[in-house]
C-alpha cells in the first residue's frame, strides 16, 4: 500500500528524517515507536503533506502513485488519514461542516456522487456510536472546548466517517485516561479490515495492548534502527530504548 524509500526531510534546514525505509501492506498494522524527538511525528506529518517540512531525498509511493507530488488535500482524497497528535480548534466551523465538506470532496475526487444531507446524517450517526460521542458534538465547533480525550475520540470519529485506506495515528494515546484509551482503541480495531492499513505512532506500548501490531519499528535519530513483531514493543516497555540504540551503534 505504501512504500517509503530513503526518505529525508528537514525543517528550517534541520534534518529530521535521515533515510526512512518502510513498507506497509494492506491489512497490516505497524507501530512506530521511539524516544521523544526521534522523528516519529515528523514522519506522520510528511506523509500527510505538511508543507513546513521539506523532503530532500527519497520517495513515497502510495498504491503506486508518487505521494510527494500531491498536495495534502489530494493525499487525503487518495485515502490517507492523519489522526493528529494535537487536533486544532476551529471556532465557527462545525464538525458537520468539516465532515460534510471533507467527505464530499473525497467522493468528488474519486468520481463518486456527493451525499445529500439525509444520507450524510445517517452515515454520521452510525459512526458516532463507534467512539461513544453524543450527537450534539456535530453542531459544535471543531474541537473547540473539547477535553483532550474528546479531541482524540473526534479524530477517530472523523476517520470512521472518511474511511481511509491508510490511517496514521500520531500519539493518539497521549493524554488519554484508560477508559478513553479503550474507546479509541476499540474504534480503531473495529475499523480495521483486510483492505486498509494502520500506522500507530506512539512511545508507549499500552495502546498496543488494544491495537495489536503486526510489525513494530524503532525510530531513532531519523532512521528506523530496528524492526520486529509485537514482542519487540513489550521488550521496549520492559527494557527501554537504550539497548536498541546501542545495538544499532555497534552495527555501524
Amino acid at each position: 500500500m505504501i512504500e517509503i524509500k530513503n526518505l529525508h526531510a528537514n525543517i528550517d534546514g534541520r534534518e529530521i528524517l535521515k533515510g526512512i525505509n518502510l513498507t506497509v501492506n494492506k491489512g497490516e498494522v505497524h507501530a512506530i515507536m521511539g524516544p521523544n524527538g526521534s522523528g516519529k511525528s515528523t514522519l506522520a506529518q510528511v506523509i500527510a503533506g505538511r508543507e513546513d517540512y521539506k523532503v530532500t531525498a527519497g520517495e513515497v509511493l502510495f498504491n503506486g502513485k508518487n505521494l510527494l507530488e500531491l498536495p495534502a488535500e489530494n493525499r487525503a482524497c487518495e485515502g490517507i488519514f492523519l489522526a493528529f497528535q494535537y487536533p486544532v480548534e476551529i471556532p465557527g466551523v462545525s464538525n458537520t461542516t468539516l465532515l460534510k465538506n471533507a467527505l464530499n470532496s473525497i467522493r468528488k475526487y474519486r468520481g463518486e456522487e456527493e451525499l445529500d444531507a439525509m444520507e450524510f446524517l445517517s452515515l454520521v450517526k452510525k459512526k458516532m456510536s463507534l467512539v461513544e460521542l453524543s450527537e450534539d458534538l456535530l453542531r459544535r465547533s471543531v474541537n473547540e472546548g473539547f477535553s483532550g480525550g474528546e479531541k482524540k475520540r473526534n479524530e477517530i470519529f472523523q476517520m470512521a466517517v472518511l474511511q481511509p485506506k491508510l490511517a496514521i495515528l500520531d500519539e493518539t494515546d497521549s493524554g488519554l485516561d484508560i477508559d478513553a484509551l479503550r474507546i479509541v482503541a476499540n474504534g480503531v480495531t473495529k475499523l480495521k479490515s483486510p483492505e486498509n492499513a494502520t500506522i500507530v505512532v506512539t512511545h508507549y506500548q499500552r495502546l498496543l495492548n488494544y491495537i495489536v501490531p503486526d510489525f513494530v519499528h524503532v525510530l531513532y535519530n531519523g532512521k528506523i534502527i530496528k524492526s520486529g513483531d509485537k514482542s519487540l514493543a513489550l521488550e521496549l516497555e520492559d527494557k527501554g530504548y537504550d539497548w536498541v540504540i546501542e545495538e544499532a551503534a555497534e552495527l555501524v
Partner: protein, 435 residues
C-alpha cells in the same frame, strides 16, 4: 487646480437648481435647515489626508468626479430590486430608486399599531414639530462636510416613529437602490423610537448599471428610555460606486441598541458611526464587517461616548481584505468623568488574504473616570496555518478550506442577528463574495 474647491462650487450651483425645483416648499421651516446646511457646507472644506480623521482615506478619486443630483426614477428591471428584498409578508418594505420612493415596490399599507412610516419629505410636511425637533440634532450628525451636504439636499428618505410601548414584530427593510449613471443621491433617515418601544430596521444600499454614482447618506436614531433597537446596515453598492455614510445614535436611559454594519461593495467607502449615551444603564453593541477585494477601499470610523454611568458598550469590527484592497478602522471610546461603572469593550480583527492588502487600524480608548472596566485591541493576520492544514488533511480542497475559515471568521459578526432571513441573506452574500 484644486479640485476640492471646484467640486464645492459645483455642489453649491447644484443646490441652487435643486432649490428651484422645490417651489412652495421653500417657505417651509425645513428649507431653512437646508439653507443653514449649505451655508455650513460652503464654510467647510473637503477633507484631505492632512486631517487626522481622514489620515488614511484619500478622497481624491471622489473629488475628481462630476456627479449630478438624481432627478427622476429610471426604468428598472424588477429583478434588480427583488434580489435585495426580504419576504414582503414578513417584512415591512420600503424601496427608493435613485432616492425616490417607489410605491410600486414598497409595501407600507397595513402598518401595525404604534408605527408611523413616511418618507422624510412627507413627514416634514405632516408633523414638522416632531421631525424638526430631532432632525440634524443628534450628536455629531453635523460638522462634517458630507453630512451637511446630505442635509442640504435632503428630500428623500425615511421617517420612522415607533410610539411609546409599541413592540413592532415585523422588521422594517428600507432599500436604496441607485442606477449607476454619474449621479449622486442623499438618502436621509430619521428613526424615532419612543419609550419602551422595540423595532428592527434594515437598511440596504445597492446599485445597478455600469457607470459610477455617489451615495451620501445620513441616518439619525433617537433611542428613548427602555427602547430596544436592532439595526442592520447592508452596504452592497456596485464596485465602482462611492459611499459615504453617517449613523448617529442618541441612547437614552436603559435603552438597548445593536448595530450590524456590513460592507461588501463600493470603490471608496467611508462610514461614520457615532453613538452617545445620554442616560445611564443603557447598552450599545456595534458589530461591523468589511469584506473587500480588488482595489476597494473601506473606512469605518466609530465613536462611542460614555457620558453617563453604568452603561455597557461592546464593539467588534472584523475585516477581510484581498488583492490590493485597503481597510481603515478607527474606533474611539470615550469614558467621561461622570461615567463611572462603565463597561466598554472594543475589538478590531483583520485577515489579509494577499500580500498587497493593507489595513490601518487604530483603536482608541480615552478614559476620564476611575471605576470602569475597559478593554480594546486590534489584530491583523493571515489565516491560521494549523487550521488550514487540518482542513486540507481531511481532504478539503485548498479553495474550500480557505473559504470555510474566512467564512467562520466573518460569520461570527452576523451570528447574533435575530432575523433568520437577514442572517441567511448575509451568509449567502458572504459566500458569494468569498468563493
Amino acid at each position: 487646480m484644486n479640485s476640492s474647491v471646484e467640486l464645492k462650487e459645483q455642489y453649491l450651483k447644484q443646490f441652487q437648481s435643486f432649490e428651484n425645483t422645490l417651489n412652495g416648499e421653500k417657505e417651509l421651516p425645513m428649507h431653512q435647515i437646508r439653507k443653514d446646511a449649505i451655508k455650513k457646507f460652503s464654510a467647510l472644506n473637503f477633507p484631505s489626508v492632512k486631517d487626522e480623521e481622514w489620515k488614511y482615506t484619500n478622497i481624491n478619486p471622489l473629488l475628481g468626479r462630476n456627479f449630478r443630483p438624481a432627478d427622476s426614477i429610471p426604468e428598472i428591471d424588477p429583478q434588480f430590486i427583488n434580489k435585495y428584498l426580504f419576504d414582503k409578508k414578513e417584512f415591512i418594505t420600503l424601496v427608493f430608486i435613485n432616492g425616490y420612493f417607489s410605491k410600486e415596490f414598497s409595501d407600507i399599507d397595513a402598518l401595525p399599531k404604534g408605527l408611523v412610516i413616511e418618507t422624510i419629505c412627507q413627514a416634514i410636511k405632516n408633523h414638522p414639530d416632531l421631525v424638526l425637533r430631532y432632525f440634524s440634532k443628534t450628536t455629531s450628525s453635523g460638522n462634517n462636510i458630507f453630512s451637511e451636504l446630505n442635509t442640504a439636499f435632503a428630500n428623500h428618505g425615511t421617517f420612522v416613529n415607533v410610539e411609546e410601548n409599541a413592540i413592532i414584530e415585523k422588521p422594517i427593510q428600507i432599500l436604496y437602490v441607485t442606477k449607476a449613471d454619474d449621479i449622486f443621491v442623499s438618502p436621509r433617515n430619521l428613526f424615532l423610537v419612543n419609550q419602551n418601544a422595540q423595532v428592527k430596521i434594515i437598511e440596504t444600499y445597492a446599485g445597478f448599471g455600469e457607470k459610477s454614482y455617489f451615495t451620501n447618506q445620513v441616518t439619525e436614531f433617537i433611542v428613548n428610555d427602555n427602547a430596544v433597537v436592532e439595526h442592520v446596515r447592508i452596504q452592497n453598492e456596485q464596485l465602482q460606486a462611492f459611499h459615504i455614510s453617517s449613523l448617529s445614535v442618541d441612547l437614552e436611559k436603559s435603552s438597548n441598541f445593536s448595530s450590524y454594519n456590513i460592507n461588501f461593495g463600493g470603490s471608496l467607502v467611508r462610514n461614520n458611526v457615532n453613538t452617545k449615551f445620554n442616560g445611564g444603564f443603557a447598552e450599545c453593541r456595534l458589530n461591523g464587517l468589511y469584506v473587500a477585494g480588488g482595489t476597494q477601499f473601506v473606512d469605518n470610523h466609530t465613536s462611542i461616548d460614555h457620558t453617563k454611568p453604568n452603561c455597557l458598550s461592546n464593539e467588534l469590527y472584523k475585516g477581510i481584505l484581498n488583492d490590493t484592497s485597503r481597510g481603515v478602522f478607527n474606533g474611539k471610546v470615550f469614558v467621561r468623568q461622570d461615567a463611572q461603572k462603565t463597561n466598554a469593550y472594543q475589538q478590531n480583527k483583520n485577515i489579509l488574504l494577499s500580500n498587497d492588502a493593507i489595513v490601518n487600524t487604530k483603536p482608541q480608548l480615552e478614559i476620564f473616570a476611575d471605576d470602569v472596566k475597559c478593554s480594546h485591541g486590534a489584530t491583523v493576520g493571515q489565516l491560521d496555518k494549523d487550521q488550514f492544514f487540518y482542513l486540507k488533511a481531511r481532504g478539503i480542497q485548498e479553495k474550500e478550506a480557505k473559504a470555510i475559515l474566512i467564512y467562520a471568521f466573518a460569520s461570527d459578526v452576523v451570528h447574533s442577528i435575530s432575523m433568520l432571513q437577514v442572517r441567511d441573506h448575509l451568509e449567502a452574500l458572504l459566500a458569494k463574495k468569498l468563493l
